[in-house]
């Protein structure tokens, strides 16, 4: 009898500790959790050159219905306002062990601002979200897509493009 009472007290204390981590309110309709990554730049990126960051984003434990977000940082190194194109890009080549993305992947990428206009020397974050529908199926467990950033002021017949690799590891 005494043992039972002591057990009861211990259990009650344990439960009280756990309850602190849980929401006592009834669970609302589940929304996909947002998992995001932020960019930490190396020291002293150049102000007088156009650049993007990061070079690579790794999304792990991803699943259909999940949402992952990250920012692509763009810096306009020019002395004039410049329009950039930010878009999903089917990769020319992929990292070892990764496959090219399914064709539908272009519909799963949301880019907050696809044509940002940056003032001279301005640095700006553009939010990118991967939102694969719950019912979507991908054959590969590891696949890759790129986010392309192009300075639209380029007028020559040789054009440069900066590509942020995004590597997906499915759960």
């Amino acid at each position: 009898m005494r043992i039972l009472a002591v057990s009861l007290v211990i259990l009650a204390m344990t439960l009280a500790g756990c309850v602190g981590f849980t929401d006592p309110e009834p669970a609302p309709t589940p929304e996909p959790e947002v998992h995001s990554g932020s960019v930490i730049l190396p020291e002293n990126p150049p102000m007088d050159r156009t650049w993007v960051s990061p070079g690579k984003v790794q999304i792990g434990n991803y699943y259909p219905g999940g949402r992952a977000e990250y920012s692509v940082t763009i810096h306009n190194g020019k002395d004039t306002s410049t329009e950039f194109s930010v878009s999903y890009r089917y990769p020319d080549n992929v990292a070892t062990g990764y496959d090219k993305p399914p064709l539908e992947a272009q519909d799963w990428i949301i880019i907050a601002d696809m044509t940002p206009i940056l003032m001279p020397k301005e640095t700006r974050d553009v939010l990118v979200a991967l939102t694969m529908p719950k019912e979507a199926k991908v054959e590969s467990k590891k696949w890759e897509f790129w986010i392309s950033v192009i300075d639209m002021a380029q007028t020559g017949t040789i054009r440069t493009e900066l590509c942020v690799r995004t590597l997906i590891d499915m759960r």
């Binding site: 998992h35 990769p91 017949t157 590509c163």
Partner: protein
């Protein structure tokens, strides 16, 4: 009394089990990891008109004949680069300001205007199709040049060191059949920089 206590104990255990499961689920969260690095590139010059360097001596300078190979080689429009390629055989300079090692990929899209030649994606020409390659300093041209496809080319240069510049050129073989138009054709070659993955 004993029965009531056991009942309470069981009820508490049943409450605790799902709570513990919910806490364990956090181990399965999606992770987003970004690599602190920046990519920066520029190319100079940013134009090329095949056969406009010194001319091939046959076709008027700045014009191209069908079924002919032209190089973006300052030593001559019809001069193939040597093995290995040296800086002087490359028209374009890539100024690379990236903080990490990168890959450089060159795509040569289909033309618009005129005969609108399309890329064979094989490096060789054919009827209404052109062939194209990219090459860079240090490459063994005869065996190492990379097919410049309309899209999806292999990297011309992998593991280009941070802030390391490099020179490159293009090889362009015009369509095998005669021109049907006198209008200019245009294609904008794309030089893509991406993070190097071993």
């Amino acid at each position: 009394m004993k029965r009531i206590l056991v009942g309470i104990l069981l009820a508490m255990l049943l409450t605790l089990v799902p709570t513990m499961s919910a806490l364990a689920a956090s181990d399965d969260d999606i992770t987003v990891t970004v690599t602190p690095a920046y990519l920066s590139i520029s190319v100079s010059p940013d134009t090329w008109a095949p056969n406009d360097i010194v001319g091939d001596g046959v076709t008027p300078k700045g014009s191209v004949a069908p079924d002919t190979v032209y190089y973006a080689n300052p030593l001559g429009d019809d001069t193939a680069p040597s093995d290995p390629v040296v800086d002087g055989e490359c028209r374009f300079t890539i100024t690379n300001g990236s903080s990490v090692a990168t890959n450089v990929t060159v795509n040569f899209p289909d033309h618009t205007g005129g005969d609108a030649s399309t890329n064979s994606n094989l490096g060789t020409n054919d009827t209404t199709k052109f062939g194209a390659y990219s090459y860079c300093t240090g490459m063994t041209y005869s065996t190492g040049k990379v097919i410049a496809k309309a899209s999806g080319s292999d990297a011309m240069k992998t593991n280009l060191g941070a802030t390391t510049n490099i020179k490159f050129g293009l090889t362009y073989e015009t369509q095998s059949n005669a021109w049907t138009s006198t209008d200019n054709m245009v294609s904008t070659v794309n030089v893509a920089l991406s993070y190097y993955m071993p």
